[in-house]
Symmetry: C2
Subunit: 346 residues, 2 copies
């Protein structure tokens, strides 16, 4: 009898299994080592053969219970996908190709094995979509469930896109739609159940990292700066302005607000513009590019990745400031009300 297929075994807690058996079990989800991997999970470190001439990109981001997610609101597969997506998005924002990942798990001993296996299924499924392999990691006991992913990627040095390259006159573009994730978070917390709410919740729980968009922008050579929308559009555009030493003017009516987010906002009595500007966790890309190249750039992205890049504003000089231009032409300060851990600075 295959004990692993019985109800008894799948309800088993990791405290019953022990660390090494758990690692064995999880490694079955990881698959073959893959290209560039000299030594995958199972030794003291992974050993990787970086591609000649490429820059190595390295980032890490975590998902902490009670802070980024509640187990009652997200399935373990979704949690795994989300952990992958938020990191893939950071590699995308540099124009990079994700390659290899390390997983650090802090797990309460009472965690059920089928739960963490499901997290791994979601995690590896999302990473596999981008040809990215888990090459190592660490598991430790903890009172709180915490998942941390380190993601390594590669990019040709000439294609690296930073936050700091925007210049006055550049057009500001954003991929896809804004506001869905924040609307989904609000819908989840309010227990709202509708077609639009379900779409928004899906966008919140399993965001789609814009890896293909990032690569196309980087390879085109047209982009001058790029960042992903994790803290919130206004705040993340602010990071580009800070790093580039510029200001920005954004047209409120140009923002590609998701229709479903609008519907959820109305149902919950929220301001959808605020969700789009400050909600965060959209994991879309903000791109700046010279005005005369944006048509060709947006065309390439739409043709090759099937994603719309929308012109939403213009980079201006630092002294001109940061403004949101409303439909009636009046300007209000583009205030960064985005997400900050530990509250907001005074």
């Amino acid at each position: 009898m295959d004990l692993q297929r019985t109800g008894y075994a799948t309800a088993m807690q990791i405290g019953d299994l022990g660390e090494f058996n758990l690692i064995e079990r999880l490694l079955q989800h990881v698959g073959e080592a893959g290209p560039g991997v000299t030594l995958g999970a199972g030794d003291d470190t992974a050993a990787i053969k970086p591609s000649t001439g490429m820059l190595l990109l390295a980032t890490c981001d975590s998902q902490v219970e009670g802070h980024h997610f509640e187990q009652s609101q997200i399935s373990p597969e979704q949690l795994g996908r989300r952990l992958a997506a938020v990191n893939l998005s950071d590699i995308a924002a540099m124009g990079g190709q994700p390659r290899w990942a390390l997983v650090s798990l802090c797990l309460p001993p009472s965690t059920e094995i089928h739960f963490i296996e499901a997290v791994y299924r979601g995690l590896t499924a999302e990473l596999n979509r981008f040809a990215t392999r888990i090459v190592g990691g660490n598991i430790t006991a903890s009172e709180l469930l915490m998942l941390d992913l380190t993601l390594l990627g590669e990019v040709p040095p000439s294609e690296l896109l930073r936050r700091g390259g925007a210049r006055p006159g550049d057009t500001i573009l954003v991929s896809g739609h804004l506001g869905s994730s924040a609307a989904g978070r609000a819908a989840l917390n309010a227990g709202l159940d509708s077609g639009a709410a379900r779409v928004a919740i899906e966008a919140h729980l399993t965001p789609q990292p814009r890896v293909a968009v990032g690569r196309i922008v980087a390879a085109s050579g047209f982009g001058t700066a790029m960042i992903d929308v994790s803290d919130g559009f206004a705040q993340d555009l602010g990071h580009i302005c800070d790093a580039s030493g510029t200001g920005a003017i954004v047209q409120a009516t140009a923002l590609p607000i998701a229709a479903g987010a609008q519907e959820v906002a109305i149902a919950l009595g929220l301001d959808v513009l605020q969700l789009a500007l400050s909600g965060g966790e959209d994991y879309e890309l903000i791109v700046t590019a010279p005005a005369d190249l944006t048509g060709e750039l947006a065309g390439s992205v739409e043709r090759e990745a099937g994603v719309v890049l929308t012109r939403v504003g213009t980079i201006v000089s630092r002294t001109e400031g940061r403004w949101l231009e409303q439909q009636d032409g009046r300007r209000v300060p583009l205030v960064a009300r985005g997400w900050q851990h530990f509250g907001r600075a005074p």
Copy 2:
């Protein structure tokens, strides 16, 4: 008035400061980007230029409050040093040179700024000893204090030392001394205060990663397998045997047990041999090498790194098993009673 120097400011909690101000503050400890770093902390990812022809090593390890440490037993500087050391030790075990680090911090909002700055001081001081730079990371709020470090290193492909290369007839060597860390842990928990206890506690709280020893063994070409002692000598040697498909015979009297560990064990009524075999967290290196080369190898390590490599046993065939040979010549099974998270497998 420089508020940052007042008692008020240093007792401030990170919840008062906000995420971005905290990052700014911590980045002051990181220093210049350093060799190979195209883009350090402050963008979506770090960008690194790996050395041509080198393998990239990648590992991560965490320190979790209530599990790896208690704040009442370790200073924040020591905690930072320890976080660095346990990861440096993994790179050392592959024969690698540590290069770059990513730090993932999960912090309760009530964490005091001077506490986390002190952690960073210890962390960067220990990393700097090995010319290793922090290039990025992540900070998030959490109910529990958790620190995770991802460490990247490099090694020439021909010098990579795995667990799986030991062959029957090879001599088993171990660097430095065993048992101090476990004795220190026991002394801490028992509140034992003596000269020997203080030395053992120091060894436990701030282990010394054997990076120089690892590099010398790797560059010599004499080593056949290597691992660091994190789980415990018997268990970690077991990992070499598992990966190499071998057995091992260890001479109990040959084990380099720290004199201070002996003294602490006596004071606390513990078996020092068990501390040395199963205590773990010594962060020494176990090396296997052909018997006729061990003299030259040990000589090089002692001369160049000032560390003694002690012959403690012999790799044998798998069918011969794994044994601890006692002083009277009798053999008892070399049982892996090392540390496992989530208890022990049945």
